[in-house]
């Protein structure tokens, strides 16, 4: 029983990361209607930048959060302002935009990942930071993982408050439900969509910083996290941000339990969940 609790806590620690990654993707899909296949590359950018900042410039990963977050936000914002906005204005309906934007993001994935290979090479990178352990209920956990969970929770809560309380947050919710009508109300839709895409990219970038604190990273890591993001987003309900948040923790716990029983089966279990969900409940936990 005590062992079981350890496994669940480990799952929560992993789940926080998944939740953050999936929330970003969900925001990009739920509001901007882009199923962003380059999402993992923003995670990779955050992770490798943090590695460079720490090992070359001696800047702590915690400070890297404050650097990589805004940079990935601006990057995402500009990509939306140029590429996706152009696609949106040339698409005659939402269905067409969803498919062209997904293909465009597929291209973006290759561009970013190749640039990263040029910049960082294929080597696996890692660093040691915050190696202390903390005991929870008798089991020992890395302090850096707790920091990761703390960030994921804080960002989730802050984002919830942002959406429910601020003017722009309300505009985002309105635009997610009915962009044309939000425009009639005076909401600058193109701006809101670019902000959402940027925020999604920033969540990926920050997740990347946190990933680099706990796991080795390299220029090819994006695809692995993209897969997790897609599974969680489907699990939570395509486009549902609370669903992604809960789904992230759920998948983290499932992953932790499976890898406790048989580590080789973790990824298999993820795919199995994905396929079963698509067959049995395609709208996910909180989807409409």
């Amino acid at each position: 029983m005590e062992k079981f609790l350890d496994v669940v806590i480990a799952g929560l620690l992993l789940g926080g990361l998944y939740a953050l990654i999936a929330m970003g993707m969900s925001l990009q899909y739920g509001v901007a209607r882009v199923l962003n296949l380059a999402h993992g590359e923003f995670i990779m950018l955050g992770a490798l930048s943090t590695w460079t900042l720490y090992t070359v410039f001696d800047i702590s990963p915690l400070i890297a959060v404050a650097i990589c977050g805004p940079i990935t936000f601006v990057l995402g914002f500009l990509i939306h302002r140029t590429m996706f906005r152009k696609l949106l204005s040339s698409s005659t309906n939402q269905g067409i935009f969803e498919s062209t934007s997904m293909l465009a993001s597929f291209g973006l994935m290759y561009v970013i990942s190749n640039l990263a290979f040029m910049a960082w090479g294929p080597e696996i990178r890692g660093y040691s930071y915050l190696m202390d352990t903390v005991s929870i209920g008798g089991a020992l956990f890395g302090a850096r993982r707790l920091v990761t969970l703390g960030f994921a929770l804080a960002i989730g809560v802050a984002f919830y408050i942002f959406l429910s309380r601020t003017k722009i947050g309300k505009a985002i919710r309105a635009a997610a439900q009915d962009p044309a009508t939000a425009g009639l109300m005076g909401v600058n839709i193109n701006m809101v969509l670019a902000i959402c895409f940027g925020l999604g990219a920033a969540m990926a970038g920050i997740a990347g910083v946190l990933v680099s604190m706990c796991y080795p990273v390299n220029a090819a890591m994006g695809i692995e996290y993209l897969t997790v993001a897609i599974i969680v987003v489907v699990l939570g309900g395509l486009g549902s941000i609370p669903g992604s948040f809960i789904g992230g923790f759920l998948l983290g716990i499932i992953g932790s339990i499976v890898s406790f029983i048989e580590p080789g089966l973790t990824v298999v279990a993820y795919y199995a969940i994905f396929v079963i969900l698509l067959l049995v409940r395609p709208k996910g936990l909180l989807g409409k």
């Binding site: 003017k167 309300k170 439900q177 009915d178 939000a182 009639l184 109300m185 005076g186 909401v187 193109n190």
Partner: protein, 234 residues
């Protein structure tokens, strides 16, 4: 106030509006009537930037607006209360009203405007924290109109407000529209309920198959044989 000249609009390759011209003067209620599919909604969608006309001009307060995005048109003072209400159904009544006040100037005054809207629609105040989708049809229309007023518009375009409402509620809606005009809001009213509409309006345009086939003051329209036959069932 609003001046539309020789407007042509298409959905894909199908032409829906043919050389439509229409004018709304300050302080008027102008009715736009016509049967289902005539192109009434299409016309107002081109006015508020939801659809681009292929040719023709649209001026609001003497500024050309035919190429402006919806949010700028809303900031200029046109409120479009769309067909089918289009509420933000997952948001509560208060949040819907707040979004209505999104333009910068309206946002500053939103406390005061809200009080005013609650005076016009007292039921919205009682329902403040209820999700929009749990309201009755009549209440939803009231919310759509209240939301449309939150931007302190100079011109309100109201697309089929009485659609799907019980007769009692329809009367209430028309009374409110009349009272808006008395408060200085200019109104372009699209309706299928031709008799009531012509009774409260100053002038009317009749749209058939995407063309304006008749325009004039409402008394004349009410007396017209064509209107009597085609729209009043007499």
């Amino acid at each position: 106030m609003l001046e539309i000249n020789n407007l042509n609009a298409f959905y894909g390759s199908i032409q829906v509006l043919w050389d439509v011209s229409l004018k709304v003067n300050k302080g008027e209620i102008v009715a736009l009537i016509g049967s289902n599919g005539a192109g009434k909604s299409t016309l107002v969608r081109t006015v508020t930037g939801l659809l681009r006309a292929t040719s023709g001009s649209i001026k609001f307060l003497d500024h050309p607006i035919e190429n402006l995005p919806s949010h700028v048109i809303s900031e200029m003072g046109i409120s479009h209360i769309p067909e089918g209400r289009r509420l933000f159904t997952d948001m509560n009544v208060l949040e819907n009203l707040e979004i209505g006040a999104y333009p910068r100037n309206a946002w500053k005054n939103k406390g005061k405007t809200l009080e005013h809207v609650f005076q016009i629609f007292p039921r919205l105040k009682e329902r403040g924290h209820q999700l929009a989708r749990t309201l009755s049809g009549g209440e939803q229309q009231m919310l759509a109109m209240g939301r449309g007023l939150m931007s302190e518009p100079k011109l309100c375009i109201i697309d089929e407000p009485s659609n799907g409402l019980a007769p009692m509620v329809v009367l209430e809606v028309f009374d409110i529209i009349k009272s808006l005009r008395d408060q200085g809001i200019t109104i372009l009213l699209i309706e299928q309920n031709v008799r009531h509409t012509l009774e409260i309006s100053d002038r009317a345009y009749v749209l058939e198959n995407g063309r304006v086939v008749m325009e004039g003051d409402c008394a004349t329209c009410l007396a017209s044989e064509h209107i009597k036959k085609a729209y009043l069932g007499l």
